[in-house]
């Protein structure tokens, strides 16, 4: 091959190309006229002695940890909802998803004062002069703009989502929040790599606090940010930690508030299923290799019933525990003629459209005796908003995958 004909020449040419590329990146830009250096661009336009690389590094460290937690828990939630072939999520412990998603939302909200203080601490750098020394510097600054924008995107879109205000977001929240998370994490990695020497020096070398007496000290600001994060957490976390519900005056949900003491995301009227749900001709259709079985509500109630205590855990971070009674999904899988220890079930709602009208229950959850087609909640027939006549409830799964108003289950052997 031509490439291998004379490796000496080609590798030296490559090194030369690389060197020229680096020189080109470092080629100094012409200095902009000094007359343009006005307002915040002026030297010492920002005079707070509170700002220091140490403060920024400490806030950055906390923020990097928080963003990693949010990214990890968010990715788990995404993978459960859109599982690639290699992904596996257990059905136990039953409340694991309630914890991961509760942590996701609580950590994101606690980031609000952290990110605010971090951005304040580096705000003068937005006006550094000259704006760009060379192309490499310009690229680095652009990557910081991307990092800041993506971080703000995550916090603001998350806050809007838990308060269910979608009008300011001209895109589908879940998709935007997901891709922006990748953007933020990528930009964060670049940022940490670029700033590593500064961070290391700031954290290892003692930096005197130059704040004037009587003003807010560095320790004072860090404590303030901590208090703000604590107030926000206490104010909202009662949406999933029920004992704190009474003090969480800003919780978007109350775990015991809703029909049958359980919150609702989508109502029967909103889903357009009221008539179909109350139609006496309602039948649950189960399709499998053994053929098709249709069961009326009375037929379902005549099958062996199981009662389980399981949480509904919403992607929005709230959760609430209910006592559910119904037929084990694995018993219905047997009716369809499939081995319940190695089966997956496609569960469809009476809803005619909607992103979450159907879900596939993976083998781990189909096998689990806690996975029910529930008919009752707290001993009463399901409230229509909770999925009357029958709904799916499985352990350790996001609420959007707990299909309500179940009309049809298609069972197939997994593997």
């Amino acid at each position: 091959m031509v490439r291998d004909a004379d490796p000496g020449v080609s590798s030296s040419r490559r090194a030369d190309l690389l060197r020229r590329g680096v020189t080109w990146l470092r080629q100094p830009f012409p200095t902009p006229p000094a007359a343009l250096r006005r307002g915040p661009l002026k030297r010492a336009a920002f005079d707070s002695k509170l700002r220091s690389p140490r403060l920024t590094s400490l806030l950055g460290l906390a923020l990097a940890g928080a963003f990693t937690v949010c990214f990890g828990t968010g990715l788990i939630s995404h993978l459960i909802q859109h599982p690639p072939s290699w992904f596996w999520w257990p059905s136990r412990p039953v409340g694991l998803y309630r914890v991961t998603q509760g942590v996701h939302v609580a950590t994101g909200l606690a980031c609000v004062p952290l990110l605010g203080a971090k951005l304040w601490s580096v705000y003068p750098r937005l006006f550094s002069w000259p704006p760009a020394r060379n192309l490499a510097h310009a690229i680095e600054r652009a990557s910081i703009a991307v990092l800041v924008a993506a971080a703000l995107f995550q916090l603001f879109s998350g806050i809007l989502n838990i308060s269910r205000w979608y009008a300011p977001m001209p895109f589908f929240f879940t998709a935007g929040h997901y891709w922006s998370a990748w953007l933020a994490i990528g930009a964060l990695l670049v940022h940490i790599a670029v700033k590593l020497p500064v961070i290391r020096q700031a954290l290892t070398r003692a930096t005197p606090d130059r704040t004037p007496p009587g003003g807010l000290s560095r320790r004072g600001l860090l404590a303030t940010v901590g208090v703000a994060a604590g107030v926000i957490t206490l104010g909202t976390v009662g949406q999933t930690v029920a004992p704190l519900a009474s003090i969480s005056v800003l919780a978007p949900r109350r775990p015991r508030t809703g029909p049958q003491h359980l919150p609702v995301n989508k109502t029967a009227a909103g889903a357009g299923v009221r008539d179909a749900a109350f139609n006496p001709a309602y039948r649950l259709t189960i399709v499998g290799p053994a053929g098709t079985v249709t069961l009326s509500l009375a037929d379902l109630a005549a099958l062996p019933q199981q009662t389980v205590v399981l949480p509904i855990s919403c992607v929005e971070g709230w959760s609430s525990t209910g006592t559910w009674t119904g037929v084990r999904l694995r018993d219905l899988v047997v009716l369809a003629g499939v081995d319940p220890d190695n089966a997956e079930a496609h569960v469809e709602s009476l809803e005619t459209r909607g992103r979450y009208r159907a879900t596939t229950v993976p083998p781990a959850h189909t096998r689990d005796p806690f996975t029910l087609i529930a008919l009752r909640l707290g001993g009463e027939p399901l409230h229509p908003d909770h999925g009357y006549p029958a709904r799916l409830i499985a352990p350790n799964r996001p609420g959007v995958l707990q299909t309500k108003w179940v009309a049809r289950i298609t069972v197939r052997s997994a593997s």
Binding site: F153, S163, M169, F171, A175, G176, G186, P213, I232
Partner: protein
């Protein structure tokens, strides 16, 4: 620059490229996400942060020296809580057929939190003033160099 840092930059750049390609090929993202991305950046760096710094300057100019630190701290906490509470107080997410959604009176809740923040700050200021009367300010804290 060490090899480890170069590798980290390369990985970060790849992840960012993955995000951009993913967003461009996802029909649910649309152009609106880019507007929102730029919008939050401009709103924060161009409006929210300058206003915050402006209030900080006013505190530095007009507030009594002894009250400044606590005043700033209370303002920062109040601002952070307000950002989280604002869409809840506005209540645009409410739905007539779903009373379990945003079930609380968030305006009142926010006022309660303000009351706690400012009562705590006032209590701390009183304690500090009482201590300062016993120990003069200039002797209590001298700037370290």
């Amino acid at each position: 620059m060490t090899t480890a840092r170069r590798c980290l930059i390369a990985i970060g750049a790849l992840v960012m490229a993955y995000a951009v390609i993913g967003a461009l090929t996802d029909p649910d993202v649309k152009f609106g996400a880019l507007i929102f991305l730029a919008g939050v950046l401009v709103a924060h760096d161009g409006v929210l942060l300058p206003l915050t710094i402006g209030v900080g300057i006013l505190v530095g100019r007009y507030a009594p020296r002894r009250a400044r630190a606590l005043l700033r701290a209370a303002l920062v906490v109040s601002l952070a809580v307000t950002i989280v509470a604002f869409p809840l107080v506005l209540g645009r997410g409410r739905a007539a057929d779903n009373p379990s959604l945003l079930p609380l009176r968030y305006g009142r809740g926010l006022l309660e939190i303000y009351a706690i923040i400012w009562a705590t700050a006032a209590a701390a200021a009183t304690v500090r003033a009482w201590r300062d009367r016993r120990r003069p300010l200039h002797r209590r804290r001298t700037p370290r160099t």
